[in-house]
Amino acid sequence: MTQQSAEEKSAMLIKGGRVINPGILDGTTDILIRNGKIAEIAPEIGPEPGTRVIEASGKIVSPGLIDMHVHFREPGHEYKETIATGCLAAVHGGFTSVCTMPNTHPVNDSGEVTEYILKKAADANRARVFPVAAISKKIKGKSLCEYGELKESGAVALSDDGNPVVNSQLMRRAMEYARGFGLLIISHCEEPELAANGVMNEGALATRMGLPGIPNASESVMVMRDIALCELTGARVHIAHVSTAESVHAIRDAKKRGVPVTAETAPHYFTLVEDAVADYNTHAKMNPPLRSHRDREAIREGLADGTIDVIATDHAPHSPLEKKVEFDRAANGIIGLETSLPLSLKLAEEGIITLSGLIEKMSVNPARILGLEHGMKVGNPADITIIDPDLSYTVNAENFRSLSRNTPFDGWNMKGRAVMTIVGGDAVFSGIPEEDNIPG
């Protein structure tokens, strides 16, 4: 694949697909890829000799999907996920690029760790990896990392994700300091004293199950703080994994005022509600927790009206060591790379967002927010996802390329998935593996 140099790569022609390039193009057309870059977008391009022709009629041809929030566990917890297995899971799910969160062991708070991640990603040779580095040293919220060095090493954004930045003064200065380097701040919004020892959404179900709850306010008070700090500093601030109605309202109001804040949610927040943890199902335990029907409705409205810019998975691999235990002792998080696209397609099928809107939230918007050179434009790297919107199948977690299996969507019937993922002109994932192709 990319073992060949760019000059030696054969050209590729994607023929007859429905090309959706949001705001620019939605129609049947061909795409020619040469030397790893998009060479031509036009109807009826004739193949030159030696060109690999991809028959894409009935398929959707999208700019490569980007998941701007994943946890690969390397360095440190390679038994849960390595960069190589994470990248493989990404391309199987249709993602050409991912942003890896810094809460590894050691934490990605230095140029050395950033470079290590990029080296491992280059060796894996699948999805592009854009490291997110830490806001504070060891994500402990005590002192700032060296943003200059992190940026030079390849970090595209800063976050203490997994931990909130509790100290408001540190957050203010981090935003200002990051602004000087043109770096995005991604905020995990949680007021830890309010979340206390909570392990699921606060409410009647938590009461019945005898589990300590996490109130919506533990998220929204910090969303409101970070909006205020964003206004104060003029930094680019992105709110991670929005789960509550109050957060959606706060972000909507902020955007109306012109505050440069952006936001993401994860497929589980627009798909599931707290009931998924009934029977103490640790595969539905995450932070923030699954919320109420009212919250899920607000998340969907936020996606529909553009308040929420991005769908990102918060892909959080854990092994049975962390999950096959008592509910309150189980680790937070679920994997998402291999179910995100079908769950988002379901949202489009239900009419909450359009297919074009889906591609905006899974490709165009993350690229814009992160400032990546990306998109279906002649001269850009050929990062393309080909989606079969009609392919029905049943999720079987045993077939995941991720090293981990912690998903609440095992056994779900899905319609639509990626059938080819092209990164820099190489088909890094192609076709449907036999064992996955179980009729739904």
């Binding site: 409410g203 019945r208 005898g210 103490y280 509910f327």
Partner: protein
Amino acid sequence: MRFVKKNILDIASLTAEEITFILNISEKMKEISERPVKKVPILRGKTVVLFFYEPSTRTRTSFDVAAKRLSADSVSISASTSSMVKGETLIDTAQNLEAMQSDVIVMRHSSSGAPHLLSKHIRASVINAGDGTHAHPTQALLDMMTVRENKGELRGLRIAIIGDISHSRVARSDIAGFTKMGADVIVAGPPTMIPKGVENMGVSVTHDIDRAIDGADVIMMLRIQKERQKSFLFSTEREYARVFGLTRERLENAKDDVLIMHPGPINRGVEIAPDVADGSHSVILDQVTNGVAVRMALLYLVLGGK
């Protein structure tokens, strides 16, 4: 009726008929405890493991006595003596206990849902002896037995449960049990101790203890833990006793035949005044006696007794 439950995990998974049946068997078991020779051979050759991951004197002793009265062999394991302190998981520990051909595992655990997890991974019967703040089904059954013994039936009674509902597995199981049997349950305490959405469990809520006491047939007081002050659930023990404690003066407005109950251990002078705990309305020690009977009944029933 034929009782087919293999596990007793919570009250929610029992029907009203099953509860009545358990209480009927419990009364027969109580009669055994009143004989001069308090032992019958019906569980001879059965092994009961008392697996207490959280400290407990009353409940563990009660199960131990119950097993011995039925001639079962009982073995006690506590967290500090088990290999769980060496980092073994709950499932591994339990599977090892089962490999020794244990028939019943009685478990107390600080994590809500732990007995449910356990029951999915072993073939032996599981009886929940209290999990986190979720459930304490044997306590609820002994409470219902005690009330039925005194009042004849449960339907139509007014039960007031007063104290820290949020942190009480006893309250949750009592609510589930008494409402299922047709009683009206009212819970009372400061708003900091009333969990969100508790009304969905079919109870009414008040923050005025006198309102809860008014017309109650049963007053169930819950233990107040001093460490809850640190999470700001109440101000001082002094104020708690004054505003929410059960005193002789408050009882003057109660029904003449009201029953005073408490799952123990009691904080004398905090949630309940000493003269009330020891007074004529108190059935607190009857609860303890009935606890043995209920646990005998459950051990007998989960092991296939007919």
